[in-house]
Amino acid sequence: MGLPYWAMILFAIASMAIVGMVAERIVLRPVLGYPAFTVVMITIGLGYVLRGVVTMVPGWGTETYALRTPFSEGILKLGDVVLAVQQLAVIGMTALLCFVLYLFFRFSRIGIAMQATSQNQLAAYYMGIPVRRVNMMIWGLSAAVAAFAGILLAPVTFVHSNMGFIGLKAFPAAVVGGFGSVPGSIVGGLIIGLVEALAGFYLPEGFKDVAAYVVVLVVLLVWPSGIFGETVRKKV
């Protein structure tokens, strides 16, 4: 639409945050407090709907688009090492995002309230945390972060209506690190990414795609709630 890149990023993130909050308000608030599986199935249904709607929007359809960024062509030479500026930008922005999220969850009141809600909704509610509003913010935040990831990914792959399935790769990253832990998800993402790259390099073809999932199975067998996830003992 002719917007500059940075304005587009802000616009995409803001609009996705709103979409996330609206989705929470409409379909997820009624099942607040239900088992995780219910939520998972609802989001799967939501995924079906949104993907379908995208193909219906005239002009978007099922085609594939390329996204151009200011960094697309740049190449950085450090001695013998040649790096694409594109990838440096991705790394830099990810690091920045991690740092911001870490600060947010560590120091801001809302971030701490979010952690409390994730640990025990009922207790958080008793402590005066507005659980519903916090949940809505979490959905907005997570949609915004996912949108940011999508923007970083778009120039590397392409933009199409089925790119959402990359999200299935994000699950292993979150699980390996353990849900409810920001450092965990970074470590998880690193492990998944490294294992995948190494498996693609050293092992025969085909192992690359399953490496992430093999890692997930192994990690879950050893640590049932991820490496950094806290183990919860239920008392009777």
Partner: protein
């Protein structure tokens, strides 16, 4: 309104609770037996699929609906059953043996998948079964000498005791017979101590283990039985499609299988059949409806939208699924002026602490 006076303990586990049920199920059975005479060729093919998906639905219902374990990897068991059947048939093994092998092999894979389930709960279990599905799919793609890779594999018609079941109606009777057998097996299992143990685990693992239910044994058993049923479904599926390739057993297929259970109604065997019928009929209905819709809406995405909306709508407004809705409507008319809204609300206060996790 019918009141059943209980005069014997065995009455509780009777197959049919009263005469009316015998009548209606008898009628349904007759209608299904007579299907080749009243159904068109196209509808027969749909009936095949409904039978096959019902069997898979029974398996998944056993696991999700009665044992309370989550699986996003049932397409993998479907694949294991289908490939076992295809390979054994190609090797000249008779159908009775090969379908038993398909079930047994699926069950043994199910035990392996069930092992993490002993320690995992909720979403972690879902992810581990999801991971398993991706791995099996990749194996099916890469092990070309065995599975034909992504080029796929052809499966010929069933031959039963030297009698080739080539026509639609012959294969239909085979599917129907197996569906009824699986259904009876499930009913029988669920009214036995094993089935009661499953339900106890679903309602509360802690109280089940306090009551002396061996969690590890019964969870593994549930996975194995569920996988075996899905394997049988997979074997029939291979014969029905007569061509199998790894693309049919992706994660999306698994999700579709889970939606059978959710749409039909979690915790009712009827739900498996209703859900299977719904999932088979919905695409047909949509393709009919497309003729009446403006072209902007009638795209390939329409099916996904409708599917997702139905899924979300059912979870939000009718967590008991289609069968639950039918139960409510029936109760409403049976009790006509006295039906109350809260009659079907679950009263399980001890679940509260578990719901918050």
């Amino acid at each position: 309104m019918r009141f059943i006076f209980k005069t014997a303990y065995l009455q509780d586990i009777r197959l049919f609770q009263h005469r009316g049920q015998v009548f209606w199920y008898g009628l349904l059975g007759l209608a299904l037996l007579a299907a080749p005479w009243w159904a068109s060729e196209y509808f027969m093919s749909q009936l095949h699929f409904i039978c096959i998906y019902s069997i898979v639905g029974f398996g998944l219902m056993m696991l999700v609906g009665f044992t309370g374990q989550i699986s996003l990897g049932h397409a993998a068991f479907l694949a294991v059953g289908a490939y076992t059947e295809a390979l054994l048939q190609a090797a000249g093994v008779p159908f009775v043996v090969s379908i038993a092998c398909a079930a047994a092999f699926s069950a043994s894979v199910g035990v392996i998948v069930g092992l993490p389930a002993l320690r995992l709960k909720g979403i972690y279990l879902a992810i581990s079964t999801l991971a398993f599905n991706v791995i099996i799919e990749e194996i099916a793609t890469r092990w070309e000498s065995l599975t034909g890779g992504s080029g796929g594999k052809h499966v010929s018609a069933v031959s039963l005791f030297g009698w080739k079941l080539e026509s639609d109606s012959e294969f239909y009777y085979l599917c129907l017979a197996l569906t009824v057998l699986c259904c009876l097996a499930c009913i029988n299992l669920l009214r036995s101590p094993t089935g009661r143990a499953f339900v106890a685990i679903r309602d509360s693992e802690i109280s089940a283990s306090c009551m002396g239910v061996n969690l590890a044994k019964y969870k593994t058993l549930s996975f194995a039985l569920s996988a075996a049923l899905t394997g049988i479904g997979g074997a029939l599926y291979a014969h029905k499609i007569s061509f199998i390739s790894p693309e049919q057993f992706t994660l999306l297929a698994s999700i579709e299988l889970v939606t059978i259970v959710i749409i039909g109604g979690v915790g009712f065997l009827h739900g498996a059949v209703l859900g299977a019928a719904f999932i088979i009929v919905l695409p047909q209905l949509i393709s009919i409806a497309k003729d009446y819709l403006p072209s902007a809406v009638a795209t390939t995405g329409l099916q996904g939208v409708v599917f997702g909306l139905v899924l979300i709508g059912l979870i939000l407004f009718e967590p008991m699924g289609l069968y639950g809705r039918w139960l409510k409507i029936r109760t409403y008319f049976e009790l006509f002026p006295f039906y109350r809204r809260g009659m079907f609300r679950r009263q399980k206060s001890y679940m509260k602490s578990e719901r918050l996790r």
